[in-house]
Amino acid sequence: MRLQLEPAKPASALRDILHTAALALLLVPGAAKAADTDPTDRIDFTTLLYGEQSRTQIFEPVVRFTHLMSDGQWVSGQLGIDVITGSSPTGALPSGIVQTRTSASGRTITSPAGQIPMAPFKDRRVSLDGQWQRPWGRLVSSTLGGHFSREKDYQSFGVDGKFSTDLMHRLLNITIGGGVSRDSVFPVGGTPAGLSAGTIIHTGSNAKNVSNVLLGASRILSRVWMVSVNGTRTFESGYLTEPYKLITVENRVTGAPVSSLTDKRPSTRDRSSVLLSSVYHLTDDVVYTSYRYYWDTWNVRSHTIDLKYRRVLDADTYVEPLLRYYQQSSASFYTVGLIQGAPLPEYGTSDYRLGKLRTITVGGTFGFRAGDVPGSFTVRGQYMRQAGDGSPPNAIGIQRNFDLSPSISIFSAVVGYTFDY
């Protein structure tokens, strides 16, 4: 389902066929050989530039090749590289004085007074992914895929499959699919025991298994309107803890940090989501709306609303502003800190991403062709603002003076280029 990128030239049959295959809703996916002059290959190139204010920076180029075969099958392969630098919050609480601690990898980390402690990191991730889609007659198609990715302390290998069929005179499309992934986590400096002072229990890798199923239905409601419902369920088991995150143990009266303990999360997590989407065509413009409800066995619940408006300027050019709102409740074992002397909970994390959180994203995409240059371009800019609960009711002592979850501003830019040949 990743095959269409650009508004393309009216004469591009490849684009049309890929579109059909991807949409699997309207026309005939069992398309035969295109006219001899029509392109059969496509190259997609995108580059992401991502920056969090004084935190993480990411540079991620991705290239994808797609080949369309004469009987309507297509195969694609993708290579991506992420280069990540910067720092992320350790999860520990700020204190009135400068904090110094030694990271798992042996580096000394200093955190200024009153600010949340951060840990620097640097990583490179390489990912490979392939897909093969084949039509089975006019109404049915199957897609098989596989991926492999590796970074300094994480590896993922997985396969997935999908089966899609058009029904009710192609007014309805049903998709069922699933996938499994075998991941390994091998923390730098070894795996620390959960909720410990950082005692390394082993230096090998930890298994993490992920499997998921999806069921989707999309329906044409009118000449200009279609809607869909998608349900997904994901089962994770194994090592789901963040080895580098910390929880502060604080003085029960003053709230001053006394020590810190490692993160510890349950070894299973079942995640579910239901997504409702609508695509509505005005005179030329298109309105995309979606709502997602998500829930999991860690007790996180979230709502996501996504709005996009594509203003079509001409056959090759569009401007598409976007707005996204996201809100989540905290995981049941999330805590801002642990109190010195109190019994330890079974699980605990201070990772802000498992706390109460809100994200607002605004941005816009510009799609165009550049004169006689073949292919089409996309440029997108986005601004994200994330805010947690900076003054939770259970903050004690000096912690009430600090912003425990400072808002984060994130900028991202994506440049995309698609070329059929």
Binding site: R2, L26, R125, Y154, S222, R223, M384
Partner: protein, 75 residues
């Protein structure tokens, strides 16, 4: 948990029923607009994949048109 799942399952069943029951019909030759590339739930899959990756690493949720989102140590 299981109860919530059942409720959601039922809600989904209801929605799918609604989708099926809608007597709206669009003749095959009237699908010119629907055949346009922009008339897709995911017209820019590569941009969408980048977004999913960003949100997966910054938030606790996952799931959408494709169930994917994993495959990285970013969360």
């Amino acid at each position: 948990m299981i109860r919530t799942a059942r409720q959601i399952g039922r809600a989904m069943a209801g929605l799918i029923l609604l989708l099926l029951a809608g007597c709206a019909t669009v003749q095959p030759w009237d699908r010119d607009i629907l055949a346009e590339k922009k008339m897709s739930f995911n017209p820019s899959p590569m941009l969408q994949a980048i977004d999913d990756h960003i949100y997966f690493s910054k938030e606790a949720s996952m799931g959408g048109i494709d169930a994917g989102g994993g495959g990285c140590g970013c969360n």
